[in-house]
Structures are given as structure tokens and as C-alpha cells.
């Protein structure tokens, strides 16, 4: 059953078309990947789905709610962990968790303690967010995003700038989250998408090039690896 339905979505900035006629269905409980090189339109798409940017045309329905008419209802069921970690820098880790919990009226010590354990934040609990390492900042950013137990979670480049160990740790966390939440993840790390996502949408210059599972995409392009399939699809897109 599709939880996000996108039809002919277009987004134009003053001089640039960032998304062009994108149509896409994302199923409930899926870990869905948005893949593309820089400027492909991944973040623009996420911003529209998170109500942070307005579409130019097309329609978007999230969990049965129209993105323009029912924005407030959609805000109750989504959460986002943006590319920029976007946490309160002068607040401690615990204060950040409490602050975000209060927004959703869920300042319940049980939920917060559960997150502290799941994200292994106990050692940095009284540390100010600005003093955390990149890995811990990302963990905190995702932890505050899921504090409301959202139905849909958007992760925009969640492992950007992290070392290989921190990246692998985050992958484990994301895999665990997927059991209870629909996750839409953007990345330009092919390995990450291959490891985590059940289905992928490949974007290039604002256009949707291909949607399917990793296997389906490999088969459709006749490539042996996902990287080859990705390059082939983007090169075909360039030549069109």
C-alpha cells in the first residue's frame, strides 16, 4: 500500500527547473532510496515532501493527506533529519532530546531513555551539542527526529562526512528503525543505498530516470554491478 503518492511533481526556482514531472509511489514500511549526483533534485524533493518548500505543480499525497490542504496533519506524522544536523548547539544532548520531545508533547522519560540506549548517547548526555563529534551529531539528529515516533522519516544524506565506522554504526540504527517506520533516504553513496534500501529512485537533473529494486535496475540495464547500472542510466540521461 502506498503511503506517499507523487504525480507529475515539478519545482521551478527563478531560473532553474529543479524537479521536472516526477511521478513516484512509496510503499508503507519501505526503506526507499533517492539517488543522484549533486544537483539531481534529491534535497528539493525531500524539502517538498517535508513541507519546507512549495511545489510549482503536480500533486503529492502523504498517508491520504494532500500536501497543500492538510499540511498540519502531515506535520504530525513526519519527521526529518536534514543534511545539516540542525540541532540546538548550546543545549546538551539530553536538553535537545527533551526540547524535541516537548514539541510533540512526548516528554516521557521512558521514550527518551529508550533513545539514549538505542543511539548509545549515554556517554555524551551532558555534553553540549556543539562539542560532539560528527558521528554523535548525526545520531542525535536522527534520535530527535524519531522522538515523535513518526510514520514517515526523511533522512537527507544521513552519513555525509562520516568515517567508515560511524557510517556502519548508523546503517545498523537505520535498519532497526525501518522495522517500525517508512524511511526515505537520500544519498550519493551507492554502497549505502545498495546496503539499506529495498527500492531506489534515480534522479538526474531533476528528472526521474529509473525506479525499482537494486536487482531490477541491474537487470534492466544489463549491468553486473549497481555502480555500472547507475553510470549507464545517467549517461543515457545525458545523451537524451
Amino acid at each position: 500500500m502506498s503511503i506517499i503518492s507523487i504525480e507529475n511533481l515539478t519545482k521551478c526556482y527563478k531560473t532553474k527547473k529543479a524537479l521536472s514531472d516526477v511521478s513516484l509511489q512509496i510503499n508503507e514500511g519501505e526503506l526507499f532510496g533517492l539517488l543522484g549526483v549533486n544537483g539531481a533534485g534529491k534535497t528539493t524533493l525531500i524539502k517538498i515532501l517535508c513541507l519546507l518548500s512549495k511545489k510549482t505543480s503536480g500533486s503529492v499525497v502523504i498517508n491520504g493527506f494532500d500536501i497543500e490542504r492538510d499540511a498540519e496533519k502531515i506535520k504530525e506524522i513526519i519527521a526529518v533529519s536534514p543534511q545539516e544536523t540542525a540541532i540546538a548547539n548550546n543545549l546538551t544532548v539530553k536538553e535537545n532530546l527533551e526540547f524535541f520531545a516537548n514539541i510533540y508533547s512526548k516528554n516521557n522519560s521512558e521514550i527518551i531513555n529508550e533513545l539514549i540506549n538505542d543511539f548509545d548517547l549515554s556517554s555524551v548526555l551532558s555534553q553540549k551539542a556543539k562539542t560532539l563529534s560528527g558521528g554523535y551529531k548525526r545520531r542525535l539528529s536522527i534520535a530527535v527526529a524519531i522522538i515523535s515516533k513518526p510514520k514517515i522519516l526523511f533522512l537527507d544524506e544521513p552519513t555525509l562526512g562520516l568515517d567508515v565506522f560511524s557510517r556502519r554504526e548508523l546503517w545498523q540504527i537505520i535498519k532497526k528503525l525501518q522495522k517500525s517506520t517508512t524511511i526515505i533516504l537520500t544519498s550519493h553513496y551507492l554502497e549505502e543505498i545498495e546496503n539499506l534500501c529495498q527500492r531506489v529512485a534515480i534522479l538526474s537533473k531533476g528528472k526521474l530516470v529509473k525506479v525499482g529494486s537494486i536487482q531490477e535496475i541491474k537487470e534492466a540495464t544489463g549491468a553486473n554491478t549497481f555502480e555500472d547500472a547507475f553510470i549507464k542510466l545517467l549517461s543515457e540521461g545525458e545523451n537524451e
Binding site: 517535508c50 506535520k75 519527521a79 543534511q83 540542525a86 548550546n90 526540547f99 514539541i103 510533540y104
Partner: protein, 260 residues
């Protein structure tokens, strides 16, 4: 209400944990008050402008411009770090944000007012000079409230319009204008037609009305009276208050759906 309180609490912590902002907001007014008293003492107490009853409303009005700086910095930083954008995707409404910043401005402004008054009392005790009456203090604090509100709204507006690098620059220009054209430490009354320009801005009328309040129960009232300067002065104050409030609300709401 819980969301507003939650956001206010966060903003207050965020500001009070920035040492530079604390120095500007709380320590700087104390330093200025003390410095002018020392100057007054060394000049044999012959500078009426530096007497406590004249200086206190001026320093309080001037210190409110630092509230604007603090708010402009936190709002612009919240925008720059994507923190605000992230919160825009939560169930928080525009008024939660505006009031969350607004109340922090009022709290800091109140802290500044109390700090200046307590510091004024201590200095008066040390210098063995007469301090302002209790009624005078209450009237003076109330008379400065509109300027505090103007500074709060302008702080939010500048934070929305400018980046965290340029907002402090714009604010420092405003702080200088408030200090100089507010007649805080310069006798504007003796500057002929220049006084007319100063009367068109909210700072000088506000300080003037504040001085009328502190002087109401003593001889200083001969210089500052509730005359046409004070009465007409309320017009620019109210216009600035209305315009800054409307602009900050409009631009904040616009920023919630803008692409930048």
C-alpha cells in the same frame, strides 16, 4: 502554550550560554553606567546629563538595543544552521516561533532593567548622591517598554532578513544610532535643528519621557517636563512599534515557506 514555553526556554538557554552576548547585554550597561558616574564625579558633578536620574533612562533605553543584537544573532544562526527549517516541519505554528523569540527578548530586557537599577542604587550609595524615587523608577521603566518592544521586533526582523555574519553589523549601526541620536550622553536639546531629526526617531523621545518620569519628583523636572516634546514623541515611538511588529510577523511567516 507549552510549545511557546518550550521554545522560549530553549532560546533563553541558547542566548545565556553565549558569553559574548551576556557581556553585551548585562555587563556593558553596568560598565557604561559606572563610567559616566566616574566622569561626573571627576567633573565635580557639573554635568546634569550624567546624573543618575538623567543617565538611568538613557542607559536602559540604550541597553535594549543589545536585546535586538542578541535576538538577531540567534534567529539568523537558527536559520543558517537549518534548525528553524527543521522546526518548520514540526507541528509548531508561526506564532509559537514569534512568541518564543519575543518572550526571550522581554526576559533579557527585564534582566537588563533590574541590573541597571540595582547598579544605579549601588553607585548612588557609594557616591552618596540622591537616587530616583520609587514612583519615578516605575514610571521610567514603563516609559521604556515601547522601545524594548521595538528592539525585540527589530531583532527578529533582522535575524530573518540577514545572515549571521551581516546581522550583527546591521545591529551595531542601529545601536550607534540609538546611543547618539537618543541623546543618551549628548545634550540633543542644545543642537538646534538637529533635535528635530532626533525627535522623528523613537530613541530621543523615549529617553526624554524616561527623564520626565525620573525627574517628576525633584528639581530636575524644571528641565524635563511632560511638554510638547514628550507628548509628540509618543507618535514616532508608536509608529516604529507598529511597523516593526507588522514587518517582523510578515517576514517571519514568509520565511517559513520560502526556498532560501
Amino acid at each position: 502554550m507549552n510549545k511557546i514555553l518550550n521554545f522560549t526556554k530553549r532560546n533563553l538557554k541558547e542566548i545565556l550560554r553565549e558569553p559574548v552576548i551576556c557581556i553585551f547585554c548585562l555587563a556593558f550597561p553596568i560598565i557604561m553606567l559606572s563610567l559616566f558616574q566616574i566622569i561626573n564625579n571627576y567633573t565635580g558633578g557639573n554635568t546634569p546629563m550624567f546624573e543618575m536620574k538623567s543617565l538611568l533612562p538613557a542607559i536602559i533605553m540604550f541597553s535594549y538595543s543589545f536585546v535586538m543584537l542578541a535576538l538577531a544573532q540567534i534567529v539568523s544562526k537558527d536559520r543558517q544552521t537549518f534548525f528553524l527549517k527543521r522546526l518548520y516541519s514540526t507541528p509548531m505554528r508561526p506564532y509559537h516561533f514569534i512568541l518564543g523569540y519575543f518572550f526571550v527578548g522581554i526576559i533579557i530586557g527585564t534582566m537588563q532593567t533590574f541590573t541597571c537599577i540595582i547598579c544605579g542604587i549601588i553607585i548612588s550609595l557609594i557616591a552618596k548622591t540622591v537616587f530616583v524615587s520609587f514612583t519615578g523608577i516605575i514610571l521610567m521603566v514603563l516609559s521604556q517598554l515601547p522601545v524594548l518592544l521595538i528592539c525585540v521586533f527589530l531583532g527578529i526582523l533582522f535575524g530573518i532578513l540577514f545572515s549571521d555574519k551581516s546581522a550583527p553589523g546591521v545591529c551595531s549601526l542601529f545601536i550607534n544610532v540609538a546611543g547618539i541620536l537618543g541623546g543618551c550622553w549628548m545634550p540633543i536639546e542644545a543642537m538646534g535643528k538637529f533635535e528635530l531629526i532626533c525627535r522623528l526617531l523613537p530613541f530621543y523621545p523615549s529617553v526624554y519621557i524616561g527623564r520626565v518620569a525620573t525627574a517628576s519628583l525633584n528639581s530636575f523636572g524644571e528641565v524635563y517636563q511632560f511638554d510638547s516634546v514628550a507628548k509628540l514623541g509618543t507618535i514616532p515611538i508608536m509608529i516604529f512599534l507598529l511597523v516593526s511588529a507588522v514587518l517582523s510577523i510578515v517576514f517571519f511567516k514568509r520565511s517559513m515557506t520560502s526556498d532560501t
